[in-house]
Structure formats: structure tokens, C-alpha cells
């Protein structure tokens, strides 16, 4: 697997859109255009406008790519990354507002235009949004604050050091005079942008906004049902489309009853879309364009298609699952990685432990099925989509349909969940293809069944683990035979590769990974905390087995394993620091009352995982009742992700990661027969519901480290914590997920 880039964005000239000269966006009241479309006016022009009418016009002064200061007591901050439920539309502007030192109640947040030149990485993925924008957004706020202070000081004829800028006011500390930011904006924006190294950014102790609980900026619109999401897009003369491609992945179209479909009520057009079915690209299929979503769905149900499945996938996932176990018992696999000599250490060990762990294919299943709205008019293509990768999608569409990139505009709309699914642009390209052919504005709506049948699934995996302990009960050997999948027989499928820096590597002297590949062709993809989401279960479950065999308390064993004070290289950018791991484990155990459990059939289970530069320890309080019914009473989570931006959403995301992890481990699994996924809707893919949701205790160790994101890393430990608690409560070891496969159900 390639090293994942740290994806840090540096504030640079592009972000100032022509620094040194002020950029003033002159708006007439009530007729505001999108920032991307607004012609930049010179100061002179705007000044003329100011004096024109009796009412002062609304003037918004652009300081940089994120921030404009308005003359009505507000500021406008653009949220540049896609909002998929991880809270960045609120969190990112909070970072700017903190360093600008401006009251949050007067901040207007808007979604930024999609512009990869200005914003670089407009992606919701890798838990990188806050992390990659932490410095530039702080600097964006701080440069503006410094320029406003300078403008006020110049006006008063005093030194900058005699002025303070707080909560939207610059104050002359000598005279006590003060001016609001809005009145200084035009003058300030003409000053040179200060050098970034001249800025004094606030220390965490001086934050007045960051770390507080701030309600999401879209919450009012959400609870009143206002249009926000991709699926809510509406344009004039909108038509509604469905798309049907072969359920056997890779199948092509032989014939269909298109003539019949075209005559159905409400159907305007029906046609075949050709596609090569490349990864994340267009699959061949039938488009139906109708007067309503329902007419398009009804017609889709009456489609009769003969597919050519000769080149389609023939994957049978349950068969491959069984075969994986056989591969582990019968073969050694190919050596992938070795530190020390695991075989020799196992031979010498006082105690050896073995266990085969497995987990299934799962779907992203965001609650908003894929959809995309496209309007083609006067040589311009406008696209409204709930995508995690708006810029990448725009570029993919321009390339595939030979469009001038300058003619394509993507409007990023709130996404009803992402979890990695919307990193792929298949639905987006389908919508563009349909709109180009139909020559009317089109909203493509996938059904839930489409969404389940054509996902980029989290790959299943099987791990044959062995460990050795010396006579002191110290871990001396760790060996894993990892069975994964491969399209070409050479490389693992996407996000099915072994993560080389995986814990406990470098904490045990003799560490070896062997790998075997099974052929598999249904596409796989990044699913929330890819790789980690599954490895977190495997590694934590097995470490608990090892600790138990060593006769040691699980927490103590973990702390002993993590006693190194070295930094350990990781794939996530920052090195892994065992001391930070120890702190989260110690704290979560303290909060959960580790060691004080005394209720029959009820126990605590611990797990720790490091991913996405976040340290996450979790404890599950679980009761195992008659009939292997599992009641998850409470989950404790302690993380070290550096400073917290929005406490409210940070807590929410921790709760969500745990619920998602529980949901997935409880009973989610997919099977495929003849290359087609069997489960088609939520009656067969049953996610966790309210009665099963445990109480959750969330705690952050706020450190001075660069912030890590939270969207992904809170999920990986939970399955391990639960199976370890099940073992402690019942003596039954769960090595196969979902729990339903191991005979357990949630109470």
C-alpha cells in the first residue's frame, strides 16, 4: 500500500486571490451572487456605490479564500470541504472565527464554491478536513485580524501594540476608542498581507470559541425540512431519472424492452447508456427519464433486460469465506513482512496461542441513496451532488465527456451520510451522461436496491493468528497469515491490503505477516476507517486472548506492551507514540471502573486502536444473557486527537463511530452469488436501532498535538471491546463477525 500523504495544506498566495490589493465584493442588497461568479471590483467602484444611494449598500470585503468581512456587523466564512455529517461545515469556520476573534453568533457560514486551484483538497475523506486546514484556517483568521488592527492603528496614529482586537472590535488601549471590524474592512484589506511567521496564533488556553459546544450551522434548516441535500436539488423543467445496470457486476446489455418502457405513463425518454464499467466509472445500463421520480421508478420495475453475463463477476462470497479458512489451515501464504524471527520465537515460547479471525463484506449504505442533478444549458454544465470529492468528480466528468473543465460547475450539497461511498463518482457520471443525452435537466435517483447492488464494498478478510509468550508472560512472537482478495491475482483489492504499520508491530521483537490472495472481482472501496475498521477487531480480540493466556489483566498487559517510549512510524502521517496510547487506555479504564466489575454474566472489555493519527481507547460494559443475548449497557471512549474544535460534534461523532461499529459487528454482512450481491434492502441488512443503542461516555484528553480528525478513528476499537467483554462475561470467544454468525444477538 502506498504511503498516505499527510495532506497538509499551506496557506499561500492562491488563498489571497491576488494579495496586496484589496478585493471587495460589492453586492446589491437582496441580490447576492455566488462568490465564484462575482466580478471583483476595485475599491473605487465600490466607494462610488457606497455614496450612490441613501441606504448604505451591503459591502462584503474579501480577505482570503475563506473570509469576507461585511459592513453590517457580520462576517461570511466559507466552508470549503464537503459536509457529510462529520460537522466540518461548522467546525472549519469556527477555526477562522477563533483567530479572527469574532462573535460566532454573527458569522454567516456558506458552502464554498468548488475550486481545486484555490482550495486544493476539497475532500471529505481520511479524517483530514480539520487536520489539513487547521493551520491555513487559523492563519486566514489571524492575518485578517492583524490587518484590521493595523488599519485601526494607522487611523488613530498609534502603534499596533497599543491596540487589541477582540470579538469584532479593535480597541485603542490608550484612549479606549474602538472600531468594529466592518468599518475597518475596506482599508484593512488594502494593506499588505502580513508574513505568516509574524503572526501570533492563540494558544489553546486563550481559545474563546474552540472547544465549546456549538450547534451545527444547518441544524435549523434540518429540523424544519428545508432543502439542503443532493436529493433536494431542484431546477426549472427538472426531469427525473433512474438507471439500471447489471446486478452481476460487469455484465453488459444484450436486449431490453425499451419500446414498451417508452410508452409507459410519465416516461419521456428511455435509452441505453454505454459504459466500460471501469472502477468508479460508467456501467452500461438503461436510463429512464420521466416526469416524476415515481414514474421513473415504476418504469424501472417493468424493465425487462437480457444481460450478457459472460464477462461478469462470478464471485460467491460465502464460498470464498469458507475457502479462506481452508487456506489458513492448509497453507503458509507468501511472506509479506518480517521483523526478527517469529517462527523461532514461537518454537521457543512457553505458551503459544492461535486463533482465526474473520469479518465479512459490508456496504456503506448511506441513508441518502446516490443521486445527482445535472442541467446542461448554453454550453454550461451545472451539477448538484452530495459528493465527498466534488473537484475529482468535476474533473472526471470533464474528461469522460470531453467537456471544457471551465464549463463544468459542481455545487456541493450536504450529503446524507458518506462513510466513503461518495468518494466514487459512478452515479455522478451516470447523471451527466443521462442529462447530455436527454437534453433536459435531470435528477438521477438511485433506489436503495441500486445502492446496495452497486457499492464499493468493504472487503472481507480472514486472519490466522499465532502468538508466543515467554515464561514471564511477555509477548515474544506475533504471526499473522492474512487472507485477502485480489482482482488480478497479484495485488490485493482496494483497501484489502495489509496495513504494514499495524499495531502491535515494533512493539514485539518477532513479528511476521504472510499473505494469501483469493480472486475476487466485485469492486471494493474505502469504508469508514478503511482497513482499521476490521483490523481493530482482529488485533484487539487476539491481544485479549494472549493476555488471558499470560494470566494477566488485559489493561496491564496492554500497558506493558506499550511501555516503549520510542516513536513508531505509521502510515497516517504522524508517528505513533506509545505514551499517548497508554494515557488513553489508563483514562478509559479509570472512567469505566476497570477491575471493579462484580455483576454475574456482566463484564468490561477493553480495546485500543490508533488510526488517522488519533489515539482511541474504548471499554464496553456488556451483559451476556440466556440464549447468548448480548446487552451492551454502556461504552466508554477516551481519545487523544489533540485540541477539540467543536466539543458538541466531537462527542456526537464519537457516539456515532461507536454506534456504527456496533451496528456493523452485530449483524451486517453481505453475500454475493454469481457476482451479484444478495442483500438488497434494509430488511436484509439490519442496522442498529434505538432500543439497542447503549449509553456512551465520551472523554477527550486534550493535548497540544496537531488535531486529528474524528470521523473514522472512533470506530475501529469498538468491536474488539465488545468481543472481549463477551469473553470476560461468558467465557465464549468471538472470532468471527458479525456476532450473528457466532451465535450471539443483541438484546
Amino acid at each position: 500500500m502506498k504511503k498516505q500523504p499527510s495532506n497538509t495544506i499551506n496557506l499561500n498566495r492562491r488563498h489571497f486571490l491576488g494579495s496586496g490589493s484589496a478585493l471587495i465584493l460589492g453586492f446589491t442588497m437582496g441580490c447576492k451572487q455566488e462568490a465564484s461568479e462575482v466580478a471583483v471590483s476595485s475599491i473605487k467602484n465600490v466607494s462610488a456605490e457606497v455614496t450612490k444611494g441613501s441606504d448604505e449598500p451591503f459591502i462584503s470585503t474579501l480577505f482570503n479564500a475563506w473570509l469576507s468581512i461585511n459592513n453590517n456587523g457580520t462576517v461570511t466564512i466559507l466552508a470549503s470541504n464537503p459536509e457529510i455529517g462529520q460537522g466540518v461545515k461548522t467546525a472549519l469556520p469556527m477555526i477562522v472565527a477563533e483567530e479572527l476573534d469574532f462573535p460566532w453568533e454573527k458569522v454567516i457560514v456558506e458552502q464554498a464554491p468548488v475550486d481545486p486551484v484555490v482550495y486544493e483538497r476539497q475532500v471529505a475523506g481520511g479524517s483530514f478536513s480539520v487536520r489539513s486546514l487547521w493551520d491555513p484556517l487559523r492563519q486566514a483568521g489571524a492575518t485578517a485580524r492583524a490587518m484590521l488592527t493595523r488599519a485601526a492603528a494607522d487611523g488613530w496614529g498609534v502603534n499596533v501594540s497599543d491596540c487589541t482586537a477582540t470579538q469584532g472590535l479593535v480597541t485603542n488601549t490608550v484612549t479606549g476608542d474602538s472600531l468594529d471590524y466592518g468599518s475597518l474592512a475596506i482599508k484593512a484589506a488594502q494593506l499588505p498581507v502580513p508574513a505568516l511567521d509574524s503572526l501570533t496564533l492563540k494558544s489553546a488556553a486563550n481559545f474563546s470559541l474552540l472547544g465549546k459546544r456549538i450547534s451545527g450551522v444547518d441544524n435549523r434548516a434540518i429540523v424544519t425540512g428545508q432543502p439542503l441535500y443532493g436529493i433536494d436539488a431542484n431546477v426549472e423543467n427538472l426531469h427525473f431519472a433512474t438507471y439500471t445496470s447489471c446486478p452481476n457486476v460487469g455484465g453488459t446489455l444484450r436486449s431490453s424492452n425499451l419500446d414498451h418502457i417508452k410508452n409507459l405513463k410519465g416516461v419521456k425518454q428511455a435509452f441505453v447508456v454505454k459504459g466500460k464499467g471501469g472502477y468508479g466509472e460508467l456501467r452500461e445500463g438503461v436510463a429512464i427519464v420521466a416526469t416524476s421520480t415515481w414514474a421513473a421508478i415504476s418504469a424501472k420495475k417493468r424493465l425487462e433486460i437480457e444481460w450478457d453475463t459472460s464477462a461478469a463477476s462470478s464471485d460467491d462470497w460465502s464460498e470464498m469465506h469458507e475457502r479462506a479458512k481452508q487456506i489458513i489451515s492448509e497453507t503458509e501464504g507468501e511472506l509479506l513482512h518480517s521483523d526478527g524471527d517469529a517462527d523461532a520465537a514461537l518454537a521457543k515460547a512457553s505458551t503459544t496461542i492461535e486463533g482465526t479471525y474473520s469479518y465479512p463484506f459490508v456496504s456503506h449504505a448511506p441513508l441518502e441513496p446516490q443521486n445527482c442533478t445535472v442541467s446542461v444549458a448554453e454550453g454550461k454544465v451545472n451539477i448538484w451532488a452530495p459528493t465527498q470529492v466534488p473537484a475529482r468528480a468535476m474533473q472526471a466528468a470533464a474528461k469522460m465527456f470531453n467537456l471544457d473543465p471551465a464549463s463544468v460547475t459542481v455545487h456541493q450539497l450536504r450529503a446524507g451520510g458518506g462513510f466513503g461511498r461518495r468518494l466514487y463518482n459512478d452515479y455522478f457520471l451516470e447523471a451527466v451522461a443521462i442529462a447530455l443525452e436527454a437534453a433536459v435537466p435531470v435528477k438521477l435517483q438511485w433506489t436503495r436496491e441500486d445502492d446496495m447492488a452497486h457499492d464499493y464494498y468493504r472487503p472481507a478478510g480472514t486472519h490466522g493468528l499465532q502468538a508466543g509468550l515467554d515464561d514471564q508472560g511477555k509477548l515474544t512472537a506475533w504471526k499473522n497469515h492474512y487472507v485477502t482478495y485480489s482482482e488480478d491475482g497479484k495485488e490485493p483489492v482496494r483497501w484489502g491490503a495489509y496495513m504494514e504499520s499495524t499495531f502491535p508491530r515494533q512493539l514485539v521483537n518477532n513479528y511476521q505477516v504472510n499473505q494469501s490472495l483469493q480472486r475476487q472481482t466485485i469492486p471494493t472501496g474505502a469504508w469508514r476507517a478503511p482497513i482499521s475498521c476490521a483490523f481493530g477487531f482482529v488485533i484487539n480480540g487476539f491481544i485479549h486472548e494472549v493476555a488471558t493466556a499470560a494470566g494477566k489483566d488485559h489493561r496491564d498487559f496492554m500497558l506493558e506492551l506499550l511501555e516503549k517510549d520510542d516513536q513508531i512510524a505509521s502510515l497516517f502521517g504522524d508517528p505513533f507514540i506509545p505514551a499517548r496510547a497508554r494515557d488513553t487506555i489508563t483514562e478509559v479504564c479509570k472512567r469505566a471502573g476497570w477491575g471493579n466489575q462484580s455483576i454475574k454474566n456482566r463484564a468490561l472489555g477493553l480495546a485500543f486502536y490508533f488510526s488517522h493519527n488519533a489515539y482511541v481507547a474504548e471499554v464496553a460494559d456488556v451483559e451476556v444473557m440466556a440464549g447468548n443475548k448480548v446487552k451492551i449497557h454502556k461504552v466508554y471512549i477516551v481519545t487523544d486527537v489533540g485540541p477539540i474544535v467543536n466539543m458538541s460534534m466531537a462527542e456526537n461523532i464519537c457516539e456515532g463511530g461507536i454506534i456504527d461499529g456496533l451496528s456493523t459487528m452485530a449483524r451486517l454482512e453481505l453475500d454475493a452469488k454469481a457476482g451479484a450481491v444478495v442483500e438488497s434492502n434494509f430488511d436484509q441488512y439490519q442496522m442498529l436501532r434505538m432500543p439497542e443503542a447503549p449509553e456512551i461516555d465520551v472523554h477527550f484528553l486534550q493535548t497540544d498535538n496537531i488535531p486529528a480528525g474524528l470521523g473514522e478513528p472512533t470506530l475501529p476499537p469498538i468491536a474488539g471491546a465488545v468481543v472481549n467483554a463477551i469473553f470476560a462475561a461468558s467465557g465464549e470467544r468471538v472470532r468471527e463477525l458479525p456476532l450473528s454468525r457466532s451465535g450471539f444477538t443483541l438484546a
Partner: protein
């Protein structure tokens, strides 16, 4: 195709030349442009499309619009009156319940129906009333807390 008149959020609305089999969900979204009600599964499993039908929470994805003729339908857009959020909506905002927010209209409709019948729901009452609504992001902890907070406010207590 036929004309169907129904009451939506207290207003009489006539759908001209509509397929009587069209689920109420799509009639609301595509014909009346009330898009707060969401499509999630189409088979009454997820609850994202929950509306009130004569005061009871129903899954609008599985209710033909013809069955709503002459009936009173309330959608999430009809909860707040004159821009005044209901106690539940207020609690949802104050406790920052949503993550992606896509399911929350349905959650609010189920919760609203619960509080109309039960001013002081227990955890079991909440479980029973809310079990039909999936939150893929996992905001159940907060939904529960928001229902309790709103119930308290409605009973005259402070938030």
C-alpha cells in the same frame, strides 16, 4: 391518472392528473416540492419518510397518495408555526442532534407523535416509538436526550 386533494400542513392541496399509486413520499417531494420528507429505502424499513397521517406517524414511501385523499397530512415543514420551533425541534438544535441529518425529519415526526400521546415517556416508551427510525450516523443517544428535554419543557420545566 386522477386529481387528488389532500390537506398538507393545514393547507388544501390538489394534485392534478396524478398516478393514484404514487407513494405519498414522492407526491410531497416531486409534486408539492416539500422535500423535508426523505427517501431512504422505499419499503417502510428506515423511517426517513415518516409523516403524520391523521395524527399518526406513517411511512409515506409505502402509502399510495390515493389513500391520503381528503386526509390531514403533517410533514416536518408543518411542525414549526410562524417560525417558532416546537420544543422538540428546539431540543434537537440545542443538543446538536444531527450528524448528516438526513433521517432527522423522520425521527422528529416519530418523536412528535410520541410526545403528543405521552408527555413523560420512559426509556422503554422512547425505544418503542423510535425503533422504526434508523439513524445511519448513530445519533440515538442524542435523540433520546432531546426527546427527554423537550418532554420536560412541554411539561413546563426548564430545558
Amino acid at each position: 391518472m386522477t386529481d387528488i386533494t389532500l390537506s398538507v400542513n393545514g393547507e388544501s392541496r390538489t394534485l392534478k392528473d396524478i398516478d393514484p399509486e404514487m407513494p405519498l413520499l414522492w407526491a410531497l417531494r416531486d409534486e408539492l416540492k416539500l422535500v423535508g420528507t426523505k427517501y431512504g429505502c422505499g419499503i417502510a424499513q428506515c423511517g426517513a419518510c415518516t409523516v403524520h397521517f391523521e395524527g399518526n406517524p406513517v411511512r409515506s414511501c409505502s402509502l399510495p397518495v390515493s389513500a391520503a385523499a381528503g386526509k390531514n397530512i403533517i410533514t416536518v415543514e408543518g411542525l414549526a408555526k410562524d417560525d417558532q420551533l416546537t420544543a422538540l425541534q428546539q431540543a434537537w438544535v440545542e443538543l446538536d442532534v444531527p450528524q448528516c441529518g438526513y433521517c432527522q425529519a423522520g425521527q422528529l415526526m416519530s418523536a412528535t407523535a410520541l410526545l403528543e400521546q405521552n408527555s413523560n415517556p420512559t426509556d422503554d416508551d422512547i425505544d418503542a416509538a423510535m425503533a422504526g427510525n434508523i439513524c445511519r450516523c448513530g445519533t440515538y443517544v442524542r435523540i433520546r436526550a432531546a426527546i427527554k428535554q423537550a418532554a420536560k419543557v412541554k411539561r413546563g420545566g426548564a430545558a
